[in-house]
């Protein structure tokens, strides 16, 4: 059950990341289209392409394991780094005063919310934003640095740290949800076992009695009757084992006030005798 939930979660993450890729890149192109900046347009096109690919994978693959989803996610994010680098280079080339690395801050938080639970890829995807901001900052000339505020790296680094904390908090939440789903499944399993036991006891009792009657009324069938009785007795003992399993289970909690047929979702009352 939890595996299915996780896979559905991975589909949603890839779909959202793909949509954000397409939307963000198109916004950049629309905003600066009159400048016809080749690196900017190329990285925007790559970002849109990666976004379409992520959406395609999310919509077409029936099952998405964590590792595979994480690599697709990373492939969708890689062009975003290029786009941000190209945007900063382009804005710096304008020769006007500007505030760099603001998209890095928002992007690192977005990754924290959307990154799949494959930890090393999630952490890498977040950390690359402040790292690339730092690399680009140190590539600026003194003349270029005069066009930006002092200490522009503080915000991307702080947002990177916040994003990491947020990401780990999210992973912890996913882990707790997984344990809760497992507990729910075990409770359901225990109730089903007890319901099967309840439904089986009367037929087993009838078999034990009928085997004895067969033996008494038809002595020539004694061997057959004995085999039926032995098998029915074994089934009865198995039922007692199930009973002790239900009692010992931590997931049982003593809540056995249920209708056995309803628990097993049996719609046809004639298919089973009533539990008794």
């Amino acid at each position: 059950m939890f595996k299915r939930v996780k896979q559905s979660h991975n589909h949603n993450l890839l779909l959202f990341q793909g949509i954000l890729n397409i939307f963000g890149a198109l916004m950049a192109v629309v905003q600066w289209h009159e400048f016809r900046n080749v690196p900017l347009n190329l990285t925007a096109a790559a970002t849109v392409g990666a976004g379409i690919f992520a959406c395609y994978v999310a919509l077409s693959k029936p099952a998405l394991q964590d590792r595979f989803a994480s690599f697709v996610f990373l492939s969708a994010v890689v062009p975003v780094y290029g786009l941000l680098w190209a945007m900063n280079g382009f804005l710096m080339a304008q020769g006007k005063f500007w505030e760099p690395f603001q998209p890095h801050e928002l992007s690192s938080l977005t990754i924290a919310i959307l990154a799949p639970p494959y930890r090393s890829i999630g952490v890498l995807a977040i950390l690359l934003f402040p790292i690339l901001a730092g690399l680009q900052f140190f590539s600026f000339t003194p003349e270029q640095l005069a066009l930006i505020p002092s200490s522009p790296l503080f915000a991307p680094i702080a947002f990177g740290v916040f994003a990491l904390v947020l990401y780990f908090y999210r992973l912890q939440g996913l882990k707790i949800a997984g344990v809760a789903a497992e507990v729910r499944m075990m409770k359901k399993l225990t109730r089903s076992i007890l319901a099967i036991k309840d439904l089986a006891n009367s037929p087993i009792q009838a078999l034990i009695i009928d085997a004895e009657l067969l033996q008494r009324k038809h002595p020539e069938a004694a061997a057959i009757a004995e085999r039926i009785e032995i098998s029915a007795t074994k089934l009865g003992k198995l039922n007692h084992v199930l009973d002790s399993y239900g009692r010992e289970s931590k997931h049982h909690n003593g809540h056995v006030s249920f209708d056995s047929k309803a628990t097993l979702e049996l719609k046809t009352p004639t298919s089973f005798p009533n539990p008794s």
Partner: protein, 131 residues
């Protein structure tokens, strides 16, 4: 002739038990599936010849339980001995309630043949204790 009252909503088991007690112990059995049948056959059930009653605890979803049947028998001064027979786990609320009733024992299905005979003959047999 001594008689046994058997109450169970599983008609197959009811028939098997009835035939068994008649064949093995020579006792006539009154086979009923619920409280409504008991009320309808009040005179026969309260007859002094009915020495024993085996009551299934759960008589079907939404139906009066074996405990209700037992209560009815007590209210109508039933002279025989009563026992409960159940397929439920001992911590089922109905089984717990039945275990708390005075002067009546609860046994878990399936019982072996020797145990069934001992039950009717009033010989000691381990019963279910309320959890």
């Amino acid at each position: 002739m001594q008689k046994i009252l058997l109450v169970d909503d599983d008609k197959t088991l009811l028939s098997s038990m009835g035939e068994f007690f008649e064949a093995v112990l020579g006792m006539k059995c009154i086979l009923l599936t619920g409280l409504a049948d008991i009320v309808a056959q009040e005179a026969e059930i309260l007859d002094r010849d009915v020495k024993f009653a085996i009551l299934d605890i759960n008589l079907g979803q939404g139906q009066p339980s074996g405990i209700d049947v037992y209560q009815w028998l007590c209210d109508h001064h039933f002279q025989g001995k009563c026992v409960f027979l159940t397929g439920h786990a001992k911590d089922h609320p109905l089984v717990k309630n039945a275990s708390l009733m005075k002067g009546v024992h609860v046994f878990e299905k399936p019982l072996e043949i020797d145990q069934l005979i001992s039950l009717i003959k009033g010989q000691p047999l381990a019963d279910v204790q309320a959890g």
